[in-house]
Each structure stands twice: as C-alpha cells, then as structure tokens.
C-alpha cells in the first residue's frame, strides 16, 4: 500500500513536469517527483529497524545509510529547485509569460 502511494507520488510529479505548460508548475512537478524518490529510500530504511540509529538504545536500530543519503539528495534538490525558480523568474521578465511552449517558440526564433 505504502509502496503504491510512493509510486503514485512519483508519477504525479512526472505528470506535472510534462503535462503542465506553466513553468512554475513544472518546477513543482520536479520537486514532487524528487520527494517520491526520497520517500522510497526513507521508507525502505524505516523497515530495517524500530528505533533511531543511536548507539546503546538497545532495540533494533534502523539502517542509517538511506537517511544520510537522502539528506544529501534533499540538499541537492533544494539547490536545483532554487536555481530553477531563478531561471523561471528571469524568463518571465524577458517574455512576460510563464507558458513554456510560448517561451520556447519565442526564444528559438530570436536567432536564425
């Protein structure tokens, strides 16, 4: 059940990236899809134990590696999203629209 939900989150993200014309919504889609992958790792890690990985707590500890990896992935994701939003803002200033299709049409016509 949880696996299916994670899969659904990932697919919703991809749907947003491709089907939404609005560039901000595309960035949202990327972020959602990214969260899907992060949930995948974190959920898998949570199955390996019942308590936080602190030495000496006695009970079965969760595998700390997926969490550590995803911490890095989240940081990387935030950087990329921030940069993407900057680009969207600059493109909006240039073209006065957030529609990816119109931006592309306008941009590639400038040269040639």
């Amino acid at each position: 059940m949880i696996w299916a939900l994670i899969c659904l989150i990932f697919l919703v993200g991809l749907w947003g990236v491709t089907r939404k014309a609005n560039m901000v919504k595309k960035v949202m889609g990327l972020s959602i899809a990214n969260s899907g992958i992060i949930l995948l790792f974190v959920h898998y890690g949570s199955l390996s134990g019942t308590t936080a990985p602190i030495e000496g707590s006695g009970r079965a500890m969760a595998d700390p590696l997926p969490q550590a990896l995803m911490l890095t992935a989240i940081v990387v994701g935030v950087c990329v999203m921030a940069l993407a939003l900057v680009l969207v803002y600059r493109l909006y200033l240039r073209f006065g629209t957030l529609d990816m299709h119109r931006v592309e049409l306008g941009a590639w016509k400038l040269h040639d």
Binding site: L14, A73, R94, L110
Partner: protein, 548 residues
C-alpha cells in the same frame, strides 16, 4: 604518498573556485584571483602525470576519503578509465579557462562556476560509489545551468531551463537505479557491487538488477545525450557562452559517457552492447542529417557533437578490447577538435554578431590564425589525413570490422564532410568588409595561442595516432596490445577520396532548392517535452527488455 595525491586532483579546483569567489567579493583582486583559480588546474596536471606510472602498469590507485574504508566511507578510485577521463577534463578545462581569461567580459564569478564544474567532473570520473557519482553529477549540473545562462540572453535562459528540467528528471531515474541496487545488494561501492553481482550469478540472474542497470543507463544517458535522450543538447550547447559550449561538448558529455561505460563494464552488462551499438549508429546518422540542415553555426556544431558521440557509443558496442580503445581514442580526439571548433566559430560569432552561416562574411583575412586552426579542426572531424579524426576513425573501422551497423557510420562520415564544406565558408579568405563588427575587436594573443595550440594538438595526435592508440590501450587494459592496425596505409588513404567526393556531392544536393526545403523540414522537427519524457520510459523499457 602517491595515493594521497589523488585527493588533490579533486581538491585543487575546489580551492581554486573558492579563490575566484573571493575575487568576486573583493573587486580590485578580480583578475589576479581569477588567474589564481585557473592556475589551480596545474595541480591536477602534475598529480595525473605522477599517477600515470602505477596506472599504466595495470594497478588501480585507491584513496579512502577521511580514512574511512569502504563500505562505510567514500573511496576515490583511479584506474585506466578514470585516468583518461580526468586527463581529458584537464586538457579541455585548462584550454577553455585560459581562453576565457583572454576575454575581459568574464569576471571571477564565472571562473568560480567553471572550476566547480571541473571539480564535479573529476568527482564523476574518480568516484568509487554510485551515490557520490550522483552528487558529482549534480555539482556539474548546477554549475552548468548557471554557466549556460551566464550572459543572461533570452535563449541562454530558455536553454538552461530546458536542460534543467530534462536532466533533473533523468537523474531521478538514476537515483531509482541506486535504490534498487542498495535494496538488493546492500552496498553502493561500484567494485563491491561488481563482486556482489558475481556472487549471486551476474546481473542477468535477477529482473530487479536489469531494471537497476537500465535506470542507471537512462539517468546517465540524459547527460550523455545519445538518441533518444539528446533533445536538450542542441539548444544548451548552441546558446551557451562560446567557451562553455567548448567545454560542454569537449569534456562534459564524454565524462558521463565514460561513467556509463564504467558502470556497464563493472556490472557485467554485456547484453546491452548490441543495443548500444545500434543506438550509437542511429544517433550518428540521424544527428548528422540534422546538422547538415542547420544554418545556425553553433547549432550545427552541437548536432555534430551528438553525431560524434554516436561513433563512440557504436564502437564501444562492438565489444572487443580494440573497440574500447577506439572509443576512447575518438573521445579524446573529439574533445580536442570540437572544443577547437566551438572556440573558433564562437570567435567568428562574437566578432560579427551573426549566427547564421550565410550572413557571416568570409573571415579568412581578418582572423588568419583562427582560420588555420578552424580548418585543422574541420579536417579532423571530417576524417582527412593526417589529422586526428582520420586516425581514430581508422581505429573505429578496425574495431567494428564485420559489424552490421558499420554502413550507417560510413554514411555519417561523408555527410560530416558535406556539412563542414557548408560551414567552412565563414573562414574562407574573402574580401574584408568593414562595418560587420558588432561585438568588439579581434581576439587577443592569449585566445589565439589557445586555439593554435589546440590545432597543433589535433595535428600531433593524428600524426602520432598509432603511438597514441598503443598508449591508450596500455592505460585501459594494463597490457601492451597484440597489434594495432596500421592507420596510414595506402588503401586507407585512398579510401578518403570516395568519401570526400560523396561529401561534396551531398553538399551540392543540400544547396539545391529541394535540399534547402528538406533542410527546413528537418529543422522544424523538434520534439516537445512530453514526447521527450515518453522517450525516457521507452528507453528504460528497451534497456531493461533487451536482457530477455
């Protein structure tokens, strides 16, 4: 002692980047600190030269970061494959950085991102585990997004955004592959994965591993830009600042290709080779047709990058030891001549302010050194002896002997000649028309020196192609080759003539009315983003399904 040299390959450009960043903060020190940043590339050069000796004898140098051994820590691994990858990055990055220093318009902030990108590429080449590879890929990517949009032009921003959306989606597939590997094997280090797979009966024994390998290939494939994942490349490479185009085409796509080759070899994914050979051959042909139909000079070169990448992939798919050498040799040669072409053509574009090759006046008299260097690059990519393209295409022919995909590559070779006959007109000697200077004066001495040096390297690696190939074979396989085919035999030299004639004929055909109408039709073929995502899934399924 030598092992700890390895970490300096990675650290030196990072420190150089920080130095450049201070140059952005302290205005008067902008130039000196940019120079200092670029000078940091001398450290990797020295380290790689010192580390060549253990690598060439077939050992791999390992260094555990922070003293934490695998599987807990991050290990840097330098074997033949990553040595070549690092060397290629170093040569191109140094040339491009020096070229950029010759232009006053790039400040210290630019060099910060350039050096970050270089450090990321070293990371991709040297890393011993999959997750660090992901992080390095993202370091490269973030720097590249900024650099593509550096000049703030509308096209640059749009190209950067498009690349960002596609490659971030691609890297999610990569992460999914990493997840599957971690779930089934419990390790991320590439060498431990290789051992684990061997113990459990190879990658073919479990469907999850097929999917994992396919996802990793799709993720890296988006960065490497072979068909069907190539759609971002023409815009990103064409509308980036010229030196950045040179480093993107010259080094970045190759570093990710090498990463993919390493993963496939270490996973034992031999069943993918035939698919890759066909993808490579189709990529080479389809991209060269697009290239031939372009009228924007930098887009034309960008399509050629995809096409030449197809050659490397196709010959890698042939699978023999010689074929692997041919693939790397072509990658190295392509890095030299393609960055040379982007730098010279970029200079023509910024001198005239025109990108359409029919509107750029002949610049042969105006820029004699650049023209000579451009023709060295153009003859190289067309495979004319004695330049280096001829040498590595000879190796590719030998490596793909008897393969059914070879005819596609042969057609590609004469269409390449045709498109460079088309492009060559901008550097022909012609009457010097004044009043065409839109973007500043002639390039300076440093820039001229860089392009001339690259031109000489193109010639040198061609004339000594045989020695180069032997050296590459030793670095890659750790043993001396049994035999390297003769590159400059009479038959091969004569074989250039029909290709050149066909190339000229193809050029004539394209310049007719029907040809230019067809060109316009081909230019209009630009897949939309949603089609591209469909390509991702189709590619993923193809890579996974080929196991059955």
């Amino acid at each position: 002692m030598t092992d700890s040299l390895l970490v300096w390959v990675l650290l030196a450009p990072l420190m150089g980047a920080v130095a450049s960043l201070f140059g952005k903060l302290i205005r008067p020190l902008d130039r000196p600190l940019s120079w200092l940043g670029v000078a940091s590339l001398a450290v990797p050069i020295a380290a790689l030269v010192l580390l060549l000796e253990p690598v060439i004898s077939g050992k791999s140098v390992r260094y555990a970061l922070g003293g934490w051994p695998e599987p807990y820590g991050i290990a840097l691994v330098l074997d033949g494959l990553s040595w070549i990858s690092c060397a290629l990055t170093t040569v191109i990055a140094a040339a491009v950085a020096l070229f950029s220093l010759g232009r006053r318009r790039y400040g210290a902030g630019y060099f910060f991102f350039l050096l970050m990108m270089v450090a990321g590429m070293y990371g991709v080449a040297l890393t011993g585990d999959l997750f660090t590879m992901f992080v390095s890929f993202e370091v490269v990517a973030v720097a590249v997004y900024v650099l593509i949009a550096w000049e703030g032009t509308a096209t640059g921003l749009a190209a950067s955004y498009k690349y960002l959306v596609l490659s971030t989606t691609g890297i999610l597939f990569f992460l999914f592959g990493v997840f599957l590997v971690y779930r089934d094997l419990g390790v991320l280090s590439i060498s431990l994965i290789s051992e684990g797979l061997e113990a459990s009966g190879g990658v073919l024994s479990s469907p999850a591993m097929h999917l994992a390998l396919a996802s990793l290939c799709v993720g890296i494939g988006v960065r490497t830009a072979f068909i069907p994942f190539h759609t971002w490349l023409p815009e990103a490479h064409a509308y980036a600042p010229h030196p950045i185009s040179a480093v993107l085409s010259g080094a970045m796509i190759k570093v990710s290709l090498f990463a993919m080759i390493r993963i496939i070899l270490q996973f034992g994914g031999d069943y993918l080779l035939e698919l890759l050979m066909w993808i490579g051959a189709v990529t080479a042909l389809a991209a060269v047709i697009s290239a031939l139909s372009q009228s924007d000079v930098k887009r034309l070169l960008a399509y050629h990058s995809i096409s030449q990448l197809g050659y490397m992939l196709a010959v890698f798919g042939a699978g023999s030891a010689l074929a692997l050498t041919a693939s790397f040799s072509h990658a190295l040669n392509h890095a030299l001549f393609k960055s040379l072409l982007f730098l010279t053509v970029g200079a023509a574009v910024s001198l005239t302010g025109q990108r359409n090759l029919y509107r750029i006046p002949p610049l042969g008299r105006r820029l004699p050194a650049f023209s000579a260097a451009f023709f060295a690059g153009a003859l190289s990519i067309s495979g004319i002896p004695p330049f280096n393209g001829f040498a590595s295409k000879g190796l590719i022919t030998a490596g793909m002997k008897g393969s059914p995909a070879y005819p596609l590559l042969w057609v590609t070779s004469f269409l390449t000649i045709a498109s460079f006959i088309k492009l060559g007109r901008i550097f022909l000697p012609g009457e010097d028309r004044d009043g065409v200077t839109a973007g500043g004066g002639n390039p300076g001495a440093l820039q001229t020196a860089v392009v001339v040096a690259l031109g000489v390297l193109c010639l040198g690696t061609g004339v000594f192609g045989q020695t180069m190939a032997r050296g590459l074979y030793r670095i890659l396989h750790g043993t001396a080759p049994a035999s390297i085919p003769r590159l400059f035999s009479g038959g091969k030299l004569l074989g250039v003539l029909p290709a050149a004639a066909l190339g000229a004929a193809a050029y004539m055909a394209v310049s007719t009315d029907i040809g230019s109408r067809l060109s316009r039709r081909v230019r209009a073929l630009a897949p939309e983003l949603r089609t591209v995502l469909l390509f991702f899934f189709v590619g993923l399924l193809a890579f996974a399904a080929v196991a059955y």
